[in-house]
């Protein structure tokens, strides 16, 4: 293994949310270690996900940010092995630590699980909300029929009336009224469809939700409403969420911890506030400066020069170096790996932090979560949440 820090022990991690600190460190519910995914086999295979480590803690929101082709969706789908051929997992480990409300705790090795075991895992323990609800809902079935199918298979002890009751309960949970049960997907607005998808994903009380750009296709107001509902549901039901999006600015308001992906690798991982106030990796820094501010003086911004790389022809060394303002000779030849930084709970894959060069000032801002005097107040606002 390349990384000394790849398998962080739970107590090496800082609680992502200061509020959660008093409650102690939440235990991991999903651990991804050294996951590699290829499309295709042999020499022609491309590597959309390379050596990725993630830890999702119970009740937390882990944000996965990246541009198109960065491998964020691939990583998420591979985690529950929903990736279709020619996607192939070539290395790594995915552990799901199940702690059901009733029943015993167990740890499932997802990558060696059989079909039957995966089937029992998906939806009931780990559910997925995809980007396009329109493609995922059955176009010729009413909402009621879709819930009915789902509950009939997975909750055999429920009677027909109980199934309807449960469906109504779920719909009300996501802010829809019971009369939506009679609707076909095309009769629902985009926001309503996505709400139905979330309700269905919640139907079996999963411990983990994987949200793959769940609000990207929606208008901002609807997006905000749905995310607020999702976060309050998270507080109520206690599921953990892996939230995938290209919109880093949204993620900062939403997530406890954020992992940034670039060209198939995780390049930086940090608590959301730290990442926002004090990015350490040049790509994160650039990405944060791609969102024009909503306040203050309007000033020219540069964005990141160049285009995201082609996975079939990645630059040598660090994949970001052609776009990086601080690229050094070493970046062109050697691929940096994710290493822990001086601040606990933070990792970054960048030669600038290897210790032998002085870190540019932009990448060395004080981390608000670190015990530096006066820095604690700078936390970014959050969606409403309660400490768990």
């Amino acid at each position: 293994m390349t990384l000394g820090n790849a398998h962080l022990t739970p107590n090496a991690e800082v609680p992502a949310d200061p509020a959660a600190g008093s409650a102690g460190v939440a235990d991991p519910v999903l651990e991804i270690r050294g996951l590699c995914v290829d499309y295709g086999l042999g020499d022609e295979a491309v590597h959309p996900v390379v050596d990725c480590d993630l830890v999702l803690r119970r009740g937390h929101v882990l944000g996965l940010a990246g541009e198109s082709g960065s491998g964020k969706s691939t990583l998420a789908m591979a985690t529950i092995r929903l990736l279709r051929w020619p996607g192939v997992i070539t290395a790594g480990e995915v552990l799901f630590h199940s702690k059901p409300a009733s029943g015993e705790r167990r740890t499932v090795d997802v990558l060696s699980a059989g079909e039957e075991e995966l089937r029992s895992l998906r939806w009931s323990e780990i559910s997925v909300v995809p980007q396009s609800a329109l493609n995922s809902l059955n176009p010729v079935a009413t909402t009621r029929a879709q819930f009915d199918d789902l509950l009939r298979v997975h909750r055999r002890n429920l009677s027909a009336a109980e199934r309807v009751d449960r469906a109504v309960e779920l719909l009300e949970m996501v802010g829809l009224t019971a009369d939506r049960l009679r609707s076909y997907p095309h009769e629902l607005s985009g926001g309503q469809r996505q709400r139905v998808m979330i309700a269905m994903a919640l139907a079996l009380d999963p411990q983990v939700m994987i949200l793959d750009e769940p609000t990207t296709a929606l208008d901002v107001v609807t997006q905000r409403e749905i995310l607020e509902e999702l976060m309050s549901l998270r507080d109520r039901l206690g599921f953990a969420a892996l939230f995938i999006t290209h919109d880093l600015s949204l993620l900062i308001e939403l997530a406890d911890e954020i992992a940034v992906m670039y060209a198939g690798r995780i390049v930086e991982r940090a608590p959301a506030v730290s990442l926002f106030r004090a990015p350490r990796m040049p790509y994160t820094h650039g990405l944060l400066h791609c969102f024009p501010p909503m306040h203050g003086e309007r000033a020219a911004m540069e964005g990141i020069p160049g285009s995201p790389p082609d996975l079939r022809a990645l630059p040598h060394g660090c994949a970001f170096h052609p776009r990086c303002p601080w690229a050094m000779e070493r970046c062109r030849s050697e691929t940096p790996t994710l290493v822990s930084l001086a601040e606990s709970g933070r990792t970054a894959a960048c030669w600038l932090h290897a210790g032998d060069v002085s870190v540019p000032q932009d990448l060395d801002l004080p981390d608000p979560l670190q015990p530096a005097p006066g820095a604690m107040g700078a936390a970014a606002p959050r969606f409403r949440r309660s400490s768990r």
Binding site: Y39, G40, T74, L83, A91, S132, D310, L314
Partner: protein
């Protein structure tokens, strides 16, 4: 479930819009290849060559008959010496031999020569009819799809009417009322074309409708292009794969129809007056009408039958090839399934479980290095 399908298509070099900046060969160079297309092309090429040089290469004229030596004379029982009845002989075709590579017919004609002479007309009628039908369908389909409104309604009605009319009966009626059809390749081709354009027209209309709403057509309109130029320069090139595929399909259909008409005796006979053309259907008709099957004279009916089957196969193979070209999904599925089999992975489309193929080496930094 949702997943990164764009990437998957890109991996297989699909023709669909690629994600960010993936380099690829220019579309024009990515002609369909693979065993299907190559076999289809080879067979078709052989037939085209035969069609061109057939009459010239034939050892005899297809109509030439030599009653003296090109048939076996069998004495009719109850005639000839000792019966008091003058000897009567009935002719039997000769099996393949060095002088008649495919034997002869009961009319003392050389089968090979007929076969070679027939190829030209059969292929030519097929191609000509398909060409006319394709032109007709492009005209109707693209016009209807692009212009829309009343033109669309009426042209669609027209093609629906032609679709609804059963083809072969109409052909039989048409051919019956145009008795000179058999003497003219052009007439036969027109009759076939008229009955076979409608399906393609509908497909092209639908495609044009979807292309018309694509942004590049709108962009051309905004930059001031004229309507005709947009249709010809912006829309039509995007329809080429479909037009090519349906051209092949129509050729296949037209050959089948021509053979069927000739088999029914509606395309004129080479022996009638005015003389019709030699074609495979005519050969089959003569063979079947003269007990070639019951007599076991396979060399008379099998060669034209085989030729029809082979030509049909080659056109179908080419059609499949173009189909995969149009629809990258088919190609991805086919290619990757083969690759998966080689790697010993079971790919089951119904229930997705991502395969885990551990690399020999432990994962490390060098893994992704190209």
């Amino acid at each position: 479930m949702a997943q990164n399908t764009t990437l998957m298509a890109a991996v297989a070099g699909g023709g669909a819009p690629l994600p960010e900046g993936l380099p690829g060969r220019p579309r024009a160079l990515r002609l369909p290849h693979g065993p299907k297309v190559i076999i289809g092309l080879v067979i078709l090429a052989v037939f085209v060559v035969v069609a061109i040089i057939g009459t010239w290469a034939a050892p005899y004229s297809p109509n030439a008959t030599n009653v003296a030596t090109w048939v076996r004379h069998v004495l009719v029982p109850g005639t000839g010496p000792g019966t008091g009845v003058p000897a009567h002989y009935y002719p039997l075709p000769l099996p393949p031999s060095s002088s008649h590579l495919l034997g002869t017919t009961v009319f003392a004609q050389d089968v090979l020569s007929q076969l070679l002479a027939s190829t030209g007309a059969t292929l030519f009628v097929g191609l000509l009819a398909a060409a006319m039908a394709t032109v007709l369908s492009v005209l109707v389909g693209v016009t209807a799809g692009y212009i829309g409104g009343f033109a669309d309604e009426s042209l669609s009605l027209l093609s629906n009417v032609f679709l609804a009319i059963p083809g072969l009966p109409l052909l039989i009626v048409l051919a019956f009322y145009v008795p000179s059809a058999g003497t003219s390749i052009l007439l036969v081709a027109i009759i076939i074309a008229v009955t076979s354009w409608a399906y393609t027209a509908r497909v092209l209309r639908a495609q044009t409708l979807s292309l018309r709403s694509r942004d590049f057509v709108e962009a051309a309109r905004i930059s001031g292009e004229g309507r005709l130029r947009i249709i010809l320069v912006e829309v039509l090139p995007n329809l080429v794969p479909i037009v090519a595929a349906s051209f092949l399909f129509t050729t296949l259909y037209a050959i089948g129809v021509y053979v069927a008409l000739a088999f029914l005796g509606l395309a004129g006979s080479p022996t009638s007056s005015p003389a019709g053309l030699w074609n495979w259907g005519e050969m089959l008709r003569e063979g079947f009408a003269n007990n070639a099957v019951r007599g076991g004279w396979w060399w008379w009916w099998a060669p034209p039958g085989l030729c029809i089957a082979l030509l049909g196969t080659s056109l179908a193979l080419l059609n499949f090839g173009i189909d995969e070209f149009i629809n990258p999904r088919l190609r991805v599925a086919g290619l990757s399934r083969r690759a998966a089999k080689r790697a010993g992975i079971r790919v089951r489309p119904s229930f997705g479980v991502t395969a885990v193929v551990r690399r020999k080496a432990e994962p490390g930094g060098e893994v992704a290095a190209p």
